[in-house]
Amino acid sequence: MGSIWEYANPKKFIATTDKVLPWVSLLALVALVGGLVWGFFFTPDDYKQGSTVKIIYLHVPSALMAINVWIMMLVASLIWIVRRHHVSALAAKAAAPIGATMTLIALITGAIWGQPMWGTWWEWDPRLTSFLILFLFYLGYMALWSAIENDDTAADLTSILCLVGSVFALLSRYAVNFWNQGLHQGASLSMDKEENVADVFYYPLLLSIAGFILLFIALVFLRTQTEIRARRMRALLARERMS
């Protein structure tokens, strides 16, 4: 199969992902629909939360993805800085909008879910607020990509921003906890990765998490292909202008 760096060649990347994409998308569809339907229709209400517990099948996976997509972008940026593979920089660029949407979903579902308990539509809960900050980082990252014409410079600057941004995102995560600690007791259901729910909720949740992950992989393959083609078109047009 050769080393993974083989896939850094844009042409080969497109060829391979074209083969894999239909399967991943199908799997994603099955897992996603399966997880949500199972969770929505076939799980009982929580004794304390009532039916709002059904929001868990959207909120937890999207929160999970919001963080992991940024980590993926961080890794892709590091690969770009170290090994200068265009595909990894473009993969990071392709992943950003997906991560931003996931963060948005996590925010909205988190706010709606908390509404009955907190009585307000938005509560400055440390976790929700850190997702809000993460969303701002996504916006900044995407804005920087679109602000720079030259592809190489854009890849360099955005990857450095991603590195610095990650450190500050962690700092903000801690600072927000510190800032709101005294005022408000955390949400009753811990929203972090490890779930402390009964099995009956647990398996549909795993399925929908798998669905979200597969969806992300399919979309990032598709969008990276688009970025590669866009990049190639710009290069061809630049070459045309030069000759």
């Binding site: 060649n9 844009p10 042409k11 265009h86 030259n150 592809d151 190489d152 590669i228 990049r231 190639r232 710009r234 290069a235 061809l236 630049a238 070459r239 030069m242 000759s243």
Partner: protein, 205 residues
Amino acid sequence: MELNVSDLSVSRGGIAVLEGLSFSILEGEALVLRGPNGSGKTTLLRTIAGLQPPLRGTIGLEREAMAYAGHSDGIKSVLTVRENLQFWADVFETGAIDPALQAFDLSALENRPAGGLSAGQKRRLGLARMVVSGRPVWVLDEPTVSLDLASVAMFAEAVRAHLAAGGLALLATHIDLGLSEARMLDVTPFKAIPPEIDDFDGDFL
């Protein structure tokens, strides 16, 4: 002290512009790069001056040996001529600036804010900065643009003095420099051949 460049290729915006360039400049020699606008002269000079990494090939001397002068002279119009020059003298840690001021007869304008200088005077201040930098290799990009004849002659004089003192000069221009004895090098034959369209790898071309 000599600068030899071997098989250098430079890129602009990720696309190779010039490739396979090899030349060497001996002590006391000046080399003038000729070529139409956009042929990559500026990119080449910036690469040799160390402002950007070369795509391929080697440059004989380190960045510390180069004094670069681009199109704009980096003159602060609010500061006076003396302050501008003194700043560069302190940065390059070379001695007093008076010899340089005399060499370009700027002593009279010493305390005038640099903003009030004419194009020719500004260019002379830029050249005085090169002298003050004490660097052996002068890398000059279009040095005589917007200069009247007297200033061009004076510029040529300054370059000759620098060469006589054992320095080297690499200039890019497409108008007359008044440096008849300098060697010429036309960059057009070194234009980079655009890579094959189907070769998808590399820079997406």
